[in-house]
């Protein structure tokens, strides 16, 4: 919402300076976004006279002008390309150092084709005061040379732009804004009663409203014998000051009423309207050429005004071209109506029309002002265009409701924590137009017709507090209350935090990627369901909710590779979607490694260079699981499992086949190709929600530590086994021989190659035997060792390496 200071002062008698008014507007909820003061922005531009204009020696289209800038000094030489630069012309001059808004440059002393130029003669477009760039400005011969142009031209009326919140329909007009400032003690409110204009004859056009829900009120009047020329200068200035284009008096009056009073009107050229008017829903197939020059196809959800020709106007949004008023209009129909807010909003959205009328009607206009608005508009028409008014035709009976709120005055203290004396409350409310009856503790408050946003006690508190001053509400310390100090994070929140730090501690960098990805990528990872596809995605590659973090991470890693960082280790901990129910949303921790971004460290190094491999991804997954509190001993690793991973270089992490916690491995070449990513690429994904919750323990003390008095014994064994034998099976076989005595089995060597059958491998394990009751004899240890060899042979077919 834009207006100028002088416009505001039409409604508010005030001597307050602009800054104070602007601050007050902001502090009562009408946030000032911008104040444009052209006299400041255009201060360096002054009025000057061209003394002489000679042909430039080296350029046909340029002239060398000597300019009297009125500062008493010598004439200034300016090279000018405008065709109208001539001796005697009074125009606008800017010296070097001036910022030229229309060109977005700062002027310097220049040499143009060998001739020095010390300034510029300007067009209106260069000052951004109009579109006109046909030559430099031509001012009257008696314009005062040397004076500031903006001030002389009357551009000194600051334009105030406020960011109007959608509840304040009463402030879509300058009049309402003035009322708020009046309530805030910023001046005297000019609010004279509007006198009805007596009709001289009955209105010949009848109005039928088919659906009162769409059109709760409609008022119309004919004015015969108008002359519709340009509107008076004051009105044109009002409109241009806020960026509107004056058209003709009748149209300008409707625009003026829109911004002055928040009361949109429509004017029809009565001679172009056939018969009576009907307000109804559009019929399928109907269309309208609107005033913006576009044709809109209509349907029954849209409310229109029709005559016997058909559709003449989009109700409350925009008029039709064919019945519009122009300089030939002699009889005018003025319409002032009420429309259903929701229908206006829906229609505007559907047709893509953002008109000043829609802006107001969808917020809701003051229903009680429908008829007074028509009277005021009629007065203006008579003043500017003459003519004879008809009587009003008014359809509808009750315009607005009488809303009375029972208000316990203690509500202000209860909700806002501030003491406001009752007389002050009453004064504020009265100035805003509320009527207050009673003296407490509960008063009755009648809400004015223009405040459709005020419904209940809280709204009244807001009115009082915003005018009284939010800054006067004292800050009140907020104690912690009686609650004991305890952890506030849920187990899932803790898992999420720990997973992040565990992965970062492994040298990975945390990324945050988009929640939506391209459909093919979603499908590749088991997503792409219809219920997870956005109806209005922002781009086709951001169309489906992600079923996995990996497509986003893979794209992110590829972007880094393309930027020249080929050794990338990225992770993300974030939400993934299996469906559109709350329980379908899970928290995943995932990561990718590419190039020399192995667990050991980043890049090539003299101490050893390793490309990331599938087991780095396994280690990442295990780091997450351990940090998140998973029962590590219960985890099972099953080869393969995910379609997007290399079948031979990947694994599934599970606790039984029913609870899959995640996957790790090398990306499948086909998945890489589909995603346009370079391989080999290692990846893992762990679903944090699937980690079983640890049992709550009654005490924080750790279990009692049992230290054996006897030294543990270590024995090494190397087995030759088939290559397909899983190390985990061999370890489990050894472990299973005696769960009490054998406290540790580690794999310390893996060998494949020379000296061993091509389909075999050598796995060497170190077994730790912990004697329990007494030191074990060599024979007893040998007996355990023999059992280990026998058990491993039985379970894996392996033989002890000779």
């Amino acid at each position: 919402m834009k207006f100028t200071l002088s416009w505001l002062k039409e409604h508010l008698d005030t001597d307050e300076p602009l800054e104070k008014l602007a601050d007050k507007l902001t502090m009562i909820g009408l946030e000032v976004e911008n104040i444009e003061d052209k006299t400041k922005a255009l201060a360096p531009f002054s009025i000057a006279r061209v003394i002489s204009a000679e042909q430039h020696p080296n350029a046909d289209r340029l002239r060398v002008c000597m300019v009297d800038t009125g500062d008493g000094g010598a004439p200034v030489q300016v090279v000018c390309g405008a065709p109208n630069a001539r001796a005697g012309l009074v125009s606008v001059f800017s010296p070097p150092g001036t910022y030229i808004p229309g060109k977005n440059i700062t002027l310097g002393v220049g040499t143009i084709r060998g001739v020095e130029s010390r300034g510029m003669l300007c067009s209106a477009a260069e000052l951004q005061i109009s579109e006109d760039h046909d030559g430099i400005m031509e001012l009257p011969a008696d314009a005062p040379v040397g004076k500031g142009y903006a001030e002389w031209a009357g551009l000194g009326d600051p334009v105030i732009e406020i960011n109007l919140t959608p509840n304040r329909q009463d402030c879509t007009g300058v009049h309402g804004i003035a009322r708020d400032l009046f309530a805030a003690d910023m001046g005297k409110f000019n609010d004279p009663a509007i006198k009805p204009v007596k009709g001289e004859f009955p209105c010949p056009v009848q109005v039928t409203v088919e659906d009162a829900a769409l059109c709760p009120g409609f008022a119309l009047r004919l004015v015969r014998g108008v002359r519709n020329g340009p509107s008076p200068e004051w009105l044109q200035k009002r409109l241009t000051s806020i960026g509107l284009r004056p058209i003709n008096a009748l149209v300008d009056i409707t625009n003026f009423m829109t911004f002055d009073r928040g009361r949109p009107l429509h004017v029809f050229d009565a001679k172009k309207v056939k018969g009576n008017l009907t307000i109804r829903r559009a019929r399928a197939g109907e269309s309208l050429l609107a005033l913006d020059g576009r044709t809109y196809n209509l349907d029954p959800s849209i409310c229109i005004i029709a005559d016997e020709h058909g559709v003449e106007s989009l109700a409350g949004i925009m008029g039709g071209e064919t019945s519009g008023c122009d300089e030939n209009t002699s009889d005018v129909l003025i319409e002032s109506a009420l429309w259903n807010e929701i229908n206006i909003a829906q229609t505007g959205r559907k047709l893509g029309i953002n008109s000043d009328a829609r802006y107001r009607f969808e917020r809701g206009v003051d229903p009680a002002f429908m008829v007074p608005g028509l009277e005021l508009a009629t007065q203006l028409v008579l003043e500017m265009c003459g003519g004879t008014p008809s009587e009003n035709v008014v359809v509808g009976s009750r315009f607005g409701e009488d809303r009375v709120i029972d208000f316990p005055v203690g509500e202000v203290k209860r909700l806002a924590g501030i003491d406001v004396p009752l007389v002050e409350m009453k004064r504020i409310l009265a100035r805003l137009g509320f009527m207050v009856a009673g003296s407490g503790p509960v008063v009755k408050i009648a809400v004015p017709s223009w405040r459709s946003d005020a419904h209940g006690k809280a709204d009244i508190v807001e009115e009082i507090v915003r005018i009284f001053g939010i800054d006067k509400v004292p800050e009140t310390p907020f104690g912690r209350g009686e609650e004991p100090r305890k952890a506030v994070l849920t187990p899932m929140q803790l898992r999420t935090r720990r997973a992040r730090r565990a992965l970062a501690a492994r040298g990975m960098v945390e990324a945050v990627t988009w929640s939506f990805i391209a459909k093919p990528a979603a499908e590749l990872f088991g997503g792409g369901q219809a219920e997870l596809a956005l109806a209005n995605p922002i781009a086709s590659d951001l169309s489906d909710m992600r079923p996995s973090l990996l497509p986003g991470l893979i794209a992110a890693s590829q972007a880094n590779i393309n930027r020249g960082s080929s050794d990338v280790a990225l992770f993300e901990v974030g939400q993934i979607f299996g469906g559109d129910k709350p329980n379908d949303q899970l928290m995943a921790a995932s990561g990718v490694r590419h190039g020399f971004a192995s667990s050991k460290g980043l890049g090539r190094h003299w101490s050893g260079t390793a490309a990331a491999d599938a087991l780095d991804a396994k280690a990442d997954a295990f780091a997450v699981l351990s940090a998140a509190g998973a029962p590590m001993q219960a985890l099972q690793i099953v080869p393969g499992g995910a379609s997007w991973l290399h079948p031979g270089r990947s694994g599934t992490i599970q606790i039984g086949p029913q609870n899959v916690l995640g996957y790790f491995g090398e990306l499948h070449p086909r998945a890489l190709e589909a995603l346009g990513a370079d391989g080999p690429l290692m990846a893992f994904e762990v679903i944090l929600d699937r980690i079983p919750e640890a049992k709550q323990r009654a005490t924080r003390a750790k279990p009692v530590l049992e230290l054996s008095a006897f030294q543990p014994v270590s024995r090494d064994f190397a087995f030759i086994v088939d290559r397909k034998v899983k190390a985990a099976d061999l370890v489990r076989a050894a472990q299973g021989v005696d769960k009490r005595l054998i406290t540790g089995v580690s794999v310390f060597d893996l060998y494949e190659g020379k000296g061993i059958d091509p389909d075999k491998k050598s796995l060497a394990i170190a077994v730790t035997i912990q004697p329990r009751e007494k030191t074990m004899t060599d024979q007893e240890i040998d007996a355990v060792a023999a059992k280990i060899v026998a058990e491993v042979t039985k379970k894996t077919g392996g033989t002890l390496r000779g």
């Binding site: 502090m27 929701i342 915003r466 849920t490 501690a505």
Partner: protein, 360 residues
Amino acid sequence: MTDLAQLESRIIADIAAAGDEAALEAVRVASLGKKGSISALLATLGKMSPDERKTQGAAINLAKDKVTEALAARREILKSAALDARLASETIDVTLPLRDAPAETGRIHPLSQVWDELTAIFADMGFSVAEGPDIETDDYNFTKLNFPEGHPAREMHDTFFFNPKDDGSRMLLRTHTSPVQVRTMLSQKPPIRVICPGRTYRIDSDATHTPQFHQVEGLVIDKESHLGHLKWILHEFCKAFFEVDHINMRFRPSFFPFTEPSLEVDIQCRRDKGEIRFGEGEDWLEILGCGMVHPNVLRACGIDPDVYQGFAWGMGIDRIAMLKYGMSDLRQLFDSDVRWLSHYGFKPLDVPTLAGGLSS
């Protein structure tokens, strides 16, 4: 006795001449070994008269002790020299550059870090952390929050929708984290003190808007909390979060459907070559919206607005993170550029605590 003295001095000379431990051992064997020269002299004692034995025995044993001592001393010197020689040959290039430890190169995203900072501050004030789904119903995202059907306030939120279901309803991506407040009020009895951080979505994309962003909201419901408390909490929060001793704040009336009265909050700052200083300057920077929970919202969530009252606030996590840490372009938060992440990210051990200072 010149023989014994000669022998002794010859052996001592041999010891001194021994160049390594093997040569020294040979001297020992030749003197003190079974067939050594001193051993041989000792063997002669048996044939002597008691008097002779007494004097000779003492002399020979003295010589033996001297030789033994000399041997030990020489051995110590040779051993030490050998060690020095070995160590002299065992050199490494200590200027070789180290490999960066993983914990040095790993990074926590600034958003996660700020998330942890927020939690630390509000946990200290007795708030717990509530979360909810990103995919929401129209009812929880709008209707229960007092956005009337078709009201222009809904258009302030450019909403991502899913396709309509058979019954005509359609899910959407939450445009704010307020549905978590609704879920909290529906599932918990007052008093309520929660913050609700989470990812939110609106159709928007330019330097200051991305289609996804993050919010943290706060909600307090009890029988006495009012605007004065709200102002105090937000003031305390801003000082703690921006880690300054004082900060000027401006609360001004605004409008949100779900609060009444509603306020927007600006903080005073000074912009200096891309850096923002808080607690000084002339500029006002909007950072959050807040207000008393609207009675219609309380009612929709089964709470009697005449008995209970409370307030809520919401702010952009991305925005306050950018303000605090001097990041200029919102889009870079989601660009996953490792150069940016390494620069603006945090090391894994930089865990924010109030005791240690959030960012130190």
